[in-house]
Amino acid sequence: MTQYFSLEFITMLTGFLLIIVGIWGMISQKNLIKIVIGFSLFDTGLNIVIVSLSHIKNSTAPIIDKAVDVSQAASKIADPVPQALVLTSIVIGLGVTALMLAYVLRLYREKKSLDINSYTDLKW
């Protein structure tokens, strides 16, 4: 039972809840900008899940300084690889979000509407 109160478990649960909120936003909302916000929430939740996997019990940040000596680094630090991957993922998420907002602006310029139901060209 105690595992459910640990830091990594709470972080992972929060991440998955954010992912579900993001999916809900993408599916149920009609406003294009709200759909982009839903996507952004999904992205953030995914990043939080990946970071929660990098946590080791009783570990600290992967930076060598006074608190973490070089010789005992392997036993004291958190996993640096997921953190580096999340850094990549955040930047790509930013690029994709900005791109989607640009598409939304362009669509708005064409039809003066932000409602997804007024764009039926690709509907089957």
């Binding site: 640990s6 579900i20 060598i64 680094a73 690889v81």
Partner: protein, 233 residues
């Protein structure tokens, strides 16, 4: 109503699929072998006190190059899509006049924000932070300029020169690693120095400065093209 039921079903189904993952997650007790290798050999091989930087810039530097390319392509597509019509450029902006507090605060804060951004990417190999974070902080300073003075124009030629020069510098530093050291983006062709000092970790500070300038100018370009569009709607 039936749509809401289906939506609820999808969400509950998704949660049911991942719930066993969450419930059985007990956390890690020790580093996996790869991370252990980075932790044990990183300080001596790369010389960066921040091991995340060692992984981002050196061990997986190729990922970072790809990431920069993706950001560049995104910025280029946004610029292409939202290209401002020159005919509309003279039209008066319909934006409300900004408040005096914001204008005065921006003259005080923008140089400080830029300095903080530069600090973050110069110290990327020592403290949490790095090129991407520093560049994003700098772009937030640009955002403040745009909010305070919506009519201000940016020098696009300077932005594209900054972006190209820093991007080319990143690739040249990577190729220098192949020529002078053991592989692409190997940082040890410059002296590694003392662990934890500002002039350490070989080429990492130079690479991070170029990444910071590139990310900052790209994000500025994105913000600028999103802003120029506003006058047309």
């Amino acid at each position: 109503m039936i749509k809401k039921g289906i939506l609820l079903l999808i969400l509950v189904g998704f949660f049911a699929v991942i719930s066993s993952l969450i419930i059985n997650f007990t956390g890690n007790e020790a580093l996996n072998p790869m991370a252990k290798h980075y932790a044990e050999n990183g300080p001596s091989e790369v010389g960066a006190a921040n091991l995340v930087t060692a992984v981002v810039v050196t061990y997986r530097g190729l990922d970072t190059l790809g990431e920069i390319t993706i950001l560049f392509i995104a910025a280029a597509i946004i610029g292409f899509f939202l290209k401002a019509h020159n005919a509309d450029a003279d039209r008066p902006s319909r934006l409300r006049k900004t408040s005096e507090i914001l204008e005065t605060a921006s003259t005080l804060l923008v140089p400080t924000i830029f300095m903080l951004g530069a600090y973050i990417f110069i110290n990327g190999h020592l403290t949490p932070g790095g090129g991407f974070q520093g560049g994003a902080v700098m772009a937030s300073g640009v955002m403040m300029i745009i909010l305070a003075r919506p009519t201000s124009k940016f020098n696009h030629k300077l932005l594209s020169v900054l972006e190209s020069v820093s991007g080319v510098a990143f690739v040249i530093l990577g190729v220098l690693g192949v020529v002078l050291a053991s592989g692409f983006l190997n940082n040890s062709f410059l002296p590694l120095g003392e662990l934890g000092s500002i002039l350490s970790a070989g080429a990492i500070p130079i690479i991070y400065v170029s990444i910071g300038i590139k990310v900052g100018s790209e994000l500025t370009g994105i913000l600028d093209s999103l802003k120029e569009h506003q006058n047309e709607i």
